[in-house]
């Protein structure tokens, strides 16, 4: 029920709507719940609405934390 999928904003269509690409499928969704989103950004889509913008910078940071955790100690001795 809380499932939400990352999608890339293809065009902002005005009227609070946008066309997004969800794994190759394009879809018209509402942007009324988010601010400061532009074409090219990724958003999280839930039941026809964008809920949040996904931060690429934070995603990269999380991935490097994960990599770092995996290396912890295994490198020691």
């Amino acid at each position: 029920m809380c499932l939400a999928l990352p999608a890339r904003v293809v065009t902002m269509d005005g009227n609070g709507m946008a066309t997004v690409s969800l794994g190759g499928i394009t879809k018209e969704i509402s942007m009324i719940l988010v601010e400061n989103v532009e074409a090219g950004d990724f958003v999280l889509v839930h039941a026809g609405y964008a809920l949040a913008r996904i931060s690429q910078e934070e995603a990269r940071r999380t991935l490097s934390l994960m990599a770092e955790a995996g290396l912890s100690e295994s490198g020691a001795l």
Partner: protein
């Protein structure tokens, strides 16, 4: 970056599995509750339990809206169709949830009731516009993730003067349920820490969980729904527990902030207030745990608009252990009906209906469980 495959990379999963194994103290047990059904589903789907050391346990929480909705509410929805002849719109998950006497919306539909599955509240509004002479009710369920979409529909309906559109509101609140669980967990279940909601937190932020750390001294890590997110969050929880810390940490920073989505929150509080209490399957009456439609939108509130006949909540089907499963006290395999009478094709309890329900997750993935998912699929989990 596509934000899916990157968070399923097998080499990172192996690294994290190693890190958790090294970090977990063999002298103690780690009982971690994943609040959300979305996490439960992902844990099973990706075989994450198999990557954990023996002493790290997942307790499955009540974060499955379909599972916690008491049967009486399903009966109300059925009555709206049967007695008031409305077009009832709802998300697909709700159609197969049994009410009294195992009646479901799907059955009502098969018997000619006008029940329509919608993907979005935008579809429900469209149905109301297209059928001006019919009453159209949106049967709204879900946590804070889903409530903003309902709020938009209500404000849109009022702005347009869409008089035939109303909402049967069953939105429930996550932090209140966590409090309910912890306050009653003097019972048999003990929870050492929480994997906190992902998409709920995208809306409300991580701040509303701070009481869990402050008052109940349990750590919370807001965790994304991808397998690596879950593993990293377990790692963070184990570290907090080892250090004797209890804080709210955020693993899912690419989406969640402490403050959440202010625009969505404003819309929700414009339209909804908080109910005094609401009944949850498994938790009973939980104070301030659900939303109600405010007076100003009362014309679009199905509970004000239609009289339904309340016979209270019928007891759960005999033998169904959903209530204990939703509190993390029992596992689906503890239920005598699991796989013997109850399966996703013939669900007896709600926990077998939704793919987020613990019973459905066990049924679907556990029987096909392999010792190590990672070793077999080197590219992605």
């Amino acid at each position: 970056m596509r934000y899916v495959d990157e968070f399923r990379q097998a080499h990172l999963a192996r690294g994290l599995a190693g890190a958790i194994a090294r970090e977990a103290d063999p002298e103690r047990q780690y009982r971690l509750m994943e609040f959300c059904g979305g996490h439960t589903h992902a844990i099973f789907r990706h075989g994450i339990q198999d990557l954990m050391p023996e002493n790290v346990h997942f307790l499955h929480g009540p974060g499955c809206p379909v599972c916690v909705l008491p049967m009486g509410r399903v009966d109300h929805a059925i009555q709206l169709v049967e007695r008031h002849d409305v077009i009832l719109c709802t998300y697909g998950d709700m159609l197969r949830v049994p009410g009294r006497g195992r009646g479901t919306l799907l059955k009502i539909k098969a018997e000619g009731g006008d029940v329509r599955m919608v993907y979005s509240t935008l579809d429900a509004l469209r149905i109301a516009r297209d059928n001006p002479r019919r009453e159209v009710v949106f049967f709204a369920i879900g946590f804070e993730t889903t409530a903003p979409a309902t709020a938009v529909a209500l404000s849109q309906a009022r702005a347009e003067g869409l008089e035939n559109f109303s909402v049967f509101c069953n939105h429930v609140l996550t932090p209140a349920a966590m409090r309910g669980l912890l306050a009653s967990s003097s019972g048999p279940v003990s929870i050492d820490g929480f994997l906190g909601p992902a998409h709920v937190s995208a809306i409300i932020g991580s701040r509303p969980y701070e009481f869990v750390a402050r008052e109940f001294r349990r750590p919370v890590v807001i965790a994304g729904f991808e397998p690596l997110d879950i593993m990293q969050s377990v790692f963070m929880l184990v570290r907090q527990l080892n250090a004797g810390r209890h804080e709210v940490e955020n693993e899912y920073t690419r989406v969640v902030t402490r403050e959440g989505n202010a625009k969505a929150q404003a819309l929700v509080s414009e339209v909804f207030g908080v109910r005094h209490a609401f009944e949850w399957r498994g938790l009973g009456q939980v104070p301030r745990s659900a939303l109600r439609i405010k007076e100003g939108y009362g014309a679009h509130d199905a509970e004000r608009r239609f009289t339904v006949f309340s016979r209270g909540n019928p007891p759960d089907a005999r033998g169904c252990e959903c209530p204990s499963i939703l509190r993390g006290v029992k596992k689906p395999t503890d239920c005598k009906l699991f796989g013997r009478g109850c399966s996703p094709d013939h669900p007896i309890g709600a926990c077998m209906v939704s793919s987020e329900g613990a019973c459905a997750a066990y049924w679907r993935y556990r029987r096909f469980r392999r010792p190590s998912v990672v070793a077999e699929s080197p590219a992605v989990l």
